[in-house]
């Protein structure tokens, strides 16, 4: 062995900087089974999915939400009634084979209205989450990445916005703008993005000092590339968790606003509006009018909450067992 090495050294000119190729021969026996990859490699997302899948409660939430989404799309077409069709002859009918969820005080079909309500409530929730996501990621990303004085200033603004009472600002805006689907979403997101911005900023601040980001930088990657390819994918976990928790907050807020008379207006019907309308008749025993919207608000919030919890466990590498 030793003689061989000295031999190869004799071949080269000590002044040459080139390394002879035969130095790079693989070690004998290096290609044996110990070094082969047995299992398929798991990406972060696959790994997270496997862990989420084994969490039955979170999966139950996910399946419920998928079914809800499907029913929101096709539900209103399963009955012959339209969402605002009134029928004087059929006021306050209890659930039956003709009216599956009963009818309200104007003879409108509660089943049809429930799935219309699902559309509105889910739309409000998802739009609020998406807008929060867009604004929060940009704001938090810039703040965290720039750092220094910019970060300081941007975070002061966030701190003040964070101190504003969320629902009071929303109510105030809606009183002025007038309640409608678009103004509700606008009001919910005016200060709603702040939480997302804080999370993204914290993550970016931490990740931007990791070695792989420095490596990327030293290879000459542009700022936009670093943000898109290095920072964002690694902050996605907490961002997604935050989004799944934003949706139920927005759905609750919308229902809450409906209770104050600031919800979506006729002819739309959200769950909150339906529950609020039903409230006055609760003493007359028309339980179905309150039960269905109230049940779906609660179940949807429950599903989003358990899904969010499950995602948090699945996506956070620190909780890996």
């Amino acid at each position: 062995m030793k003689s061989q090495t000295t031999q190869s050294h004799d071949h080269i000119d000590p002044n040459s900087k080139e390394i002879p190729l035969d130095w790079f021969k693989p070690l004998e026996g290096a290609n044996d089974s110990a070094n082969t990859v047995v299992r398929p490699s798991l990406s972060y997302w696959k790994d997270a999915w496997i862990r989420l899948r084994s969490n039955y409660i979170a999966m139950g939430g996910l399946i419920f939400l998928i079914l809800l989404g499907i029913m929101a799309i096709i539900g209103p077409y399963l009955t012959p009634y339209s969402v605002s069709e009134t029928s004087l002859a059929n006021q306050n009918q209890p659930p039956s084979s003709t009216y599956w969820f009963g009818t309200d005080n104007l003879g409108r079909d509660v089943f049809t209205r429930t799935w219309y309500g699902a559309r509105i409530s889910l739309f409000v929730g998802i739009m609020a989450a998406l807008i929060d996501f867009t604004v929060g990621v940009i704001y938090g990303g810039v703040s965290g990445y720039k750092g220094g004085r910019t970060d300081n200033l941007m975070m002061r603004i966030v701190e003040i916005l964070y101190g504003l009472p969320y629902l009071l600002v929303v109510i105030l805006l809606l009183v002025v703008l007038g309640p409608s689907l678009s103004t509700i979403i606008l009001a919910l997101t005016v200060t709603g993005w702040v939480g997302m911005a804080r999370i993204v900023r914290g993550q970016v601040l931490q990740i931007k000092n990791y070695e792989f980001v420095h490596a990327s930088k030293s290879f000459g990657a542009k700022t936009s590339r670093i943000i898109r390819k290095n920072l964002l994918p690694n902050t996605m976990g907490p961002i997604i968790v935050q989004m799944t928790l934003t949706v139920p907050t927005a759905i609750f807020a919308e229902a809450f606003l409906s209770f104050l008379g600031l919800g979506v207006q006729f002819p739309f019907a959200s769950w909150g509006v339906m529950a609020n309308d039903a409230l006055t008749t609760i003493l007359s025993g028309h339980w179905w009018r309150l039960f269905f919207p109230a049940f779906f608000i609660s179940a949807t919030m429950f599903a989003f909450n358990v899904l969010g919890d499950g995602l948090q466990d699945a996506l956070d590498p620190k909780l890996r067992r």
């Binding site: 003040i160 101190g163 109510i171 002025v176 529950a275 609760i282 109230a294 608000i297 609660s298 429950f302």
Partner: protein, 310 residues
């Protein structure tokens, strides 16, 4: 410490000022004067009305009159209730709302902490699952749904409690329950997770090893430290309770501040909306300020004067 308190105090004043200004700008952004809807008044009456509410002044003068009224805590007359001022409404409503809110937050704190501690001590046991099921349900069921459910089951069908209003302790049970369940659930979850973390610490093992009674270990050593996260979210919880009173007071017909606020929204009574919003916000921001300072005093690990560096 003093500098930190001063800094927080300055932030608090700034936040209140921003809310006040925002409220003013928004209310002025509404087209037309508040009296346009009432067709009965003629020109002269209209002008007098506008002078009475200082609406004939240019906006910037109105703004300073408004700021002065906030600084002196005099929110002016109500438009829709000619015989009462905003202060009257606040004076009538606030004690009732405060009573409801304080009882609710105490109930939420005690039951939430007890539930959380029990769940942590019996980690992955039946009590744990039961407590966490209650907690997730409590977070998921909106307070107005819970309120109507309670009225239907316990007041109308059961007849155990009065249906509405705010007179005797029996009247207080259902509104308090409806208001406290959500915050209780949040406190229970938080207490549980922070208890679980604290219980693995070395000083707990130490306390156990030296033969301390189990309840002493839990209460004196673990709980004291586990409650810190609960203190941090007290401000948020307070905000939740406060906005919760709007619907709870509406549903139970409790003559508190929330009821007047909701009424003023539905009647577009702008001075009342402005006054109550600013009052609520100032109250909340002040509570957050107190919580921040309390947190600094309670947790010796936080060196407040170091935070000024950021």
């Amino acid at each position: 410490m003093v500098r930190y308190i001063l800094k927080r105090f300055f932030m608090m004043i700034l936040t209140i000022w921003i809310i006040a200004t925002l409220t003013f700008v928004l209310m002025n952004a509404i087209p037309g004067s508040p009296f346009n809807e009432e067709r009965t008044s003629n020109e002269a009456v209209q002008e007098n009305l506008e002078r009475h509410f200082n609406l004939d002044e240019p906006p910037i003068v109105q703004y300073f009159i408004y700021l002065k009224s906030i600084a002196t805590l005099d929110f002016g007359p109500s438009i829709k209730k000619p015989n009462s001022t905003v202060n009257d409404l606040l004076g009538r409503g606030f004690p009732i709302s405060a009573e409801l809110g304080i009882i609710a937050i105490l109930v939420a704190l005690f039951s939430g902490i007890i539930l959380g501690v029990l769940a942590a001590l019996r980690h992955n046991g039946i009590i744990d699952y039961l407590a966490m099921t209650i907690a997730v349900l409590g977070i998921s069921i909106p307070n107005f749904v819970l309120a109507t459910l309670l009225i239907q089951q316990l007041a109308v069908n059961g007849g155990f409690f009065p249906v509405a209003t705010w007179q005797s302790p029996m009247h207080m049970v259902l509104p308090t329950l409806a208001l406290a369940t959500g915050p209780m659930a949040i406190i229970a979850r938080l207490t549980r997770s922070s208890m679980l973390e604290v219980l693995t610490q070395d000083y707990i093992k130490m306390a156990r090893a030296k033969g301390l009674a189990p309840y002493k270990v839990v209460i004196k050593h673990a709980l004291k430290n586990a409650l810190m996260p609960v203190v941090t979210i007290l401000g948020t919880l307070l905000a939740g309770i406060l906005t919760g009173t709007f619907v709870i007071e509406k549903i139970f017909a409790i003559p508190g501040m929330g009821k007047y606020f909701v009424e003023s929204i539905n009647q577009r009574d702008y001075p009342v909306i402005m006054g109550t919003t600013v009052f609520y916000s100032a109250f909340l921001v002040f509570a957050l300020f107190l919580v921040d300072i309390a947190y600094g005093l309670l947790d010796p690990r936080i060196k407040l004067h170091k935070e000024e560096g950021n």
